[in-house]
């Protein structure tokens, strides 16, 4: 099992993204506002944009044209290139097309350190 210690749990702010390496794979680690950590491949499944340069943001939702509600703030990973939205709380599924998702990596917390592994 390959693993990589990323940082202390308090080193990242809720809503923050961080890039790390797991062997030769580049990983993006996300800390959501509830303090949970998630890790995904750092290459967007569309054209390979570096997700760690994107944003953890929210998702506008609506059933009526012209009306918006803003949900899931800090739980949506948005790519820095073409802006595709991936729900980190839903296994990295793409909002516009949930058939697609980002490859994800397990994260564990040991002695208050964030560790990604595969």
């Amino acid at each position: 099992m390959k693993q990589q210690t990323v940082c202390h749990v308090n080193d990242m702010q809720p809503g923050e993204l961080r890039e790390t390496e797991l062997g030769r794979i580049s990983i993006v680690v996300c800390k959501t506002p509830d303090g949970e950590f998630y890790a995904f491949t750092n290459k967007c499944i569309h054209q390979g944009g570096p997700l760690s340069k994107g944003k953890l943001c929210g998702a506008p939702q609506s059933d009526n044209p012209g009306e918006y509600t803003f949900c899931q703030d800090g739980e949506i990973l948005r790519c820095p290139w073409h802006g595709r939205e991936f729900n980190v709380k839903d296994d990295g599924r793409m909002l516009a097309n949930p058939k697609h998702k980002l490859p994800s990596f397990p994260v564990k917390i040991e002695d208050d350190y964030v560790i990604v592994y595969k």
Binding site: Q47, G48, K53, G54, R78, P80, W81, G83
Partner: protein, 355 residues
């Protein structure tokens, strides 16, 4: 001049790269009183679009912002590192960032003309003469036709200026108004480049949502091509060619079929047209791959097949914009010959100044 004396990793002629300037960058090249108008009033560049911008860093790739915080596309060494050296470009053609935009001066023609001249001088000194791989576009204020022609005469013979970037305004491009500009272009071996400068559509209006506007970019391309062909521009200027930038290419077969059928039915109205419009397109018009839809190899080849030519599309990244197309990932895998044409040879055959 520098280039990275290495053979390019991938033979790419990228026909759409956006360098960007602020007014401040242009001061050195801007005469008074124009410079003082901007400086003394601390005039900030206007924003053109009525939308918050599409991606997490406005219209740019978030990772293309210069590390010291300056805007994406404003720094040659960073562009070399992130694009030209990384991908190994053979050539890149600069297309500006519409900002400051001579076409947005709304009637203050003399200011727009002065800004276009300053922009061209800035581009030549800071980009074209600093990297052998970069070629440029002449910016003009087309609303001041005499001024535009003076500008073409002034910088158009520069060996690295390959096209005129014509702003889209309230007159379609086949209109006789533009013909003297085409004459000047032809004289200097300059092609016409169409980028969807604002106003984005013929009527100068914006749809409600950015997603609509971006989806409909090809419609403004279809309008200009149709208008130029039926107004006989390519009969009158046989050396003139048109590069349609950032409108994609999948609409091209439809346009060819449509124009040919219309010509069969309605030729009597435009008797100066002697060839099938699709033939004119094949000879005079090129389209960019970007922004490309997600096509598999079969779909991609079927579009080429429907065009009846594999010489009409050229590769573009649109760096550093948010809808950048990666040369590694945006197109399906293609046979080497076709790949070579799309990635470099079609553009090389199109621009006479590229060797």
């Amino acid at each position: 001049m520098s280039n990275n004396n290495q053979p390019p990793k991938k033979r790419i002629i990228d026909v759409d790269i956006h360098e960007s300037a602020t007014y401040k960058d242009l001061f050195k090249y801007l005469e008074n009183p124009y410079r003082r108008y901007i400086e003394d009033a601390n005039w900030i560049q206007e924003k053109h679009m009525p939308y918050t911008q599409p991606s997490v860093a406005g219209v740019n790739r978030a990772d293309a912002v210069v590390p010291d915080g300056r805007p994406a596309g404003s720094d040659l060494p960073f562009m070399q590192e992130q694009l030209l050296d990384d991908i190994g470009h053979e050539y890149g053609i600069l297309t500006g960032a519409l900002d400051p935009s001579p076409s947005s001066m709304h009637g203050w023609y003399e200011m727009a003309t002065a800004l276009a001249s300053a922009y061209n001088d800035w581009q030549i000194e800071n980009w074209l003469e600093k990297d052998e791989r970069l070629y440029g576009s002449v910016h003009i204020n087309a609303e001041d036709r005499d001024g535009a022609i003076r500008e073409i005469e002034r910088v158009g013979s520069h060996p690295k200026m390959v096209q005129i970037l014509l702003p889209i305004d309230d007159k379609m491009w086949g209109d006789p108004y533009y013909h003297p500009i085409y004459g000047a272009a032809q004289k200097h071996d300059l092609m016409i480049g169409m980028h969807h400068n604002e106003p984005p559509i013929y009527f100068g209006k914006w749809p409600r949502y950015f997603i609509e506007w971006h989806s409909l970019l090809p419609t403004s391309h279809m309008m200009q091509v149709t208008n130029m062909i039926f107004n006989g521009v390519f009969e009158k200027f046989p050396k003139l060619k048109l590069m349609m930038i950032e409108g994609g290419f999948t609409f091209v077969p439809h346009l060819m079929w449509k124009l040919d059928q219309q010509y069969n039915d309605l030729r009597h109205e435009v008797p100066w047209i002697k060839r099938k419009p699709s033939e004119i397109m094949k000879e005079h018009v090129r389209f960019c791959t970007q922004p490309s839809e997600e096509l598999n190899k079969k779909d991609f080849l079927s579009v080429i097949d429907q065009m009846g030519s594999d010489e009409m599309i050229c590769f573009a990244t649109d760096y550093p914009h948010w809808d950048f197309d990666s040369p590694h990932r945006s197109l399906p895998s293609l046979d080497p010959d076709l790949k070579k044409k799309i990635f470099s040879e079609n553009a090389r055959a199109f621009y006479p100044k590229l060797k």
